[in-house]
Symmetry: C2
Amino acid sequence: MSQKPSIPQGTRDFLPEVMLRRERIFSTIRSVFRAYGYVPIETPSMEKLSVLTGKYGEEGDKLLFKILNNGDFLKDATALDDYQKLSFQICERALRYDLTVPFARFVVMHQHELSFPFKRYQIQPVWRGDRPGKGRYREFYQCDADVVGSDSLLYEAEFLAIFDEALSRLGIPAFSILLNNRKVLAGYAELAGAPDQLVNICTAIDKLDKIGEAGVREELSQRGISGGASDTIFRILSFEGSNQARLDYLQAAFEGVPIGLEGVAELRETLRLRAFLPVYKGQVEISLSLARGLDYYTGAIYEVKAHHVQIGSICGGGRYADLTGVFGVPGLSGVGISFGADRIYDVMEALELFTQDQTAPVQAMFVNFGGGAMEASLRALAGLRSSGIAAELYPDAAKLKKQFAYADKQRIPFLVMIGEDEVVAGVCQLKDMRSGEQRTLPVPDLAEALR
Amino acid sequence: MSQKPSIPQGTRDFLPEVMLRRERIFSTIRSVFRAYGYVPIETPSMEKLSVLTGKYGEEGDKLLFKILNNGDFLKDATALDDYQKLSFQICERALRYDLTVPFARFVVMHQHELSFPFKRYQIQPVWRGDRPGKGRYREFYQCDADVVGSDSLLYEAEFLAIFDEALSRLGIPAFSILLNNRKVLAGYAELAGAPDQLVNICTAIDKLDKIGEAGVREELSQRGISGGASDTIFRILSFEGSNQARLDYLQAAFEGVPIGLEGVAELRETLRLRAFLPVYKGQVEISLSLARGLDYYTGAIYEVKAHHVQIGSICGGGRYADLTGVFGVPGLSGVGISFGADRIYDVMEALELFTQDQTAPVQAMFVNFGGGAMEASLRALAGLRSSGIAAELYPDAAKLKKQFAYADKQRIPFLVMIGEDEVVAGVCQLKDMRSGEQRTLPVPDLAEALR
């Protein structure tokens, strides 16, 4: 009984070439996190439903992948005609939806084993039952760093440097790191006479790129914000100028609005500290219209956009006042960022940054001539591997055409040939598969030639 | 509404110290796989139920974690009084149970994009609804390498070298790589006059360590194998001697038993080829009683055991004649191995191989004296990080006692102090936290001193 297999909608197999590129992205980000003192943690793929539900809004709850209880899951089930209710009776666990809620749960459970400020990074897949679409998957990696237990703006400044260093080291030639502060947005709400509408104002402004000024005005008006108040907000949002000019403009506009002035002061201090940290290719830009959709941010907010590619933001983040209150431990503030690995991949592909990549499985393949020649090849091969050069021997003394075709298809850059004549002479033939050039060299020189 | 959170039974949080140790295990194995030309793939965490069911026996099917369908999963459900039947009506997907079946599915789906022999490794978690217990988890990483599409014994020999190199590089001081061949076991079955009982004989012999000779004899007898036949088998199993002597003994015993002789010849050729590959600390041992439980092995079988620790096998593997037949592509043979990362971790912990580990989050922490001293610290810190040294600055100019306590708790090896006097002199104080020693040095010499 055979079957033609397939994979679930919205999921992906990663073939070696793509894997090697993805690993380059993850390992670059990871090494920058490490340099700044962030350490890795991992949490289980499944969390208790009670930990996850209610944390992502009503929509988010519907997108959780629930895991059926083992054994007779119907034993205590009563809601056999109400699938929503029933799902909670037959499932105790679900796959994690993001890394933030599991991290909050982790901090609460292990608070007495950790030292604060606690700086962690976490690179693991998450699952969401979204309708699959272009660039939208049901399983994808998140790549987060957070520090909790400190209000120091040093971390805000360091995250600017981390974005800059990681993306620059990946070769992304030009990108903007947008920075704003929720206290600035609270200032807008005050100026608009609607201090209680902060979340709605953020949600509306967050859509500016998508729905334009008219759309945002419409949305603000639906939420009871007057046309005059909208005018005030859009007068600020439309201000153009250097970072310094923007901050000066805001400061003047916020005269008598303490929360707004506090936001400006935090932005100034963050930029001041950032000036002491290494600078690569990213441009830090104070964005007066950056709002971010998530409602738990209370201070700095970030978004990173690559230039020359229309793909939305590739990173984001912000400061939150209360990570763990929902789990009974209030007052733990922090700041965190997230790299969107899939989008970074797409940017790098669009900008052809992978073309120089070495994605061949090995640097060299030894042609297999059998017998004593094969034995000499194995010895030479061992030497290469111990020099840190990935290499292999074709497994059989097959026809040369077949062996060459394999190396060609795998895009292996070099072929090494040790036949009977070469064994006698203690040499090998090295063929550069790209140039077609072939030369004879002593076997001990092989590692050097392949470096 | 707060809740005291916990994680599902049988799952684990990994704290930074454990993560760093685990990463060392994975990265060592990964780099050996890469040196031998194995390339990474990843498959989705969830597979279609139709891909997984029936592949792990009736017991395995019960241990699958099924994922509830999104939306109104009850719409077409009819078996509301039969939980087993119902589970297939309300779940289309399950979490993967191992990496082998997903790999087979992968090879079939991507056969036209791959070159054969295809050598892949895969390091991902798997999920099993086993009763949790000591060392038995419901989520754990598997770490597999397989080559498919070749019968060459070169791969059998290389896997011996891969076990040897990876475990030796992890510092495991002494371990045995047990090698046998299913054709040798088929030879036993022939000699015992029960050639059709191969699987039962393997299953019984596989339990020798657990239930002893009497237990195995009992089990063989229950399966209709006579006492005389058992005598024949145990006479062979009890033979002691060098690898060469064992092979010679087997060869004599298998006179007129072609399948057994074929197994002996394969073992000889594997050892012959292995002699051309690098040798570290592992001892290859032809084990006449190694059988392995899984029924799909058809050639070489492996198991690795660490000396001085009672923990069972830490690696395993073997050759199979037909990886993908169940998915409609017969005739693809291969050989694969698996490293048991959790057990390797336990062995390394039991042998105290982690004591020399560097699990501090950073190599050095700068004490924060605020003001201009803090700025000078930030500049020096940037220099360290760009030299590849992980370092951090305490985020606030807090009391020294508090800053020292943080560094101490994190086991950070070095403190760097740049106060106002040091700023003027262009120097820093470097304190070795283990020895307590403190010295003054020019800031530009700091990176060198911390290497």
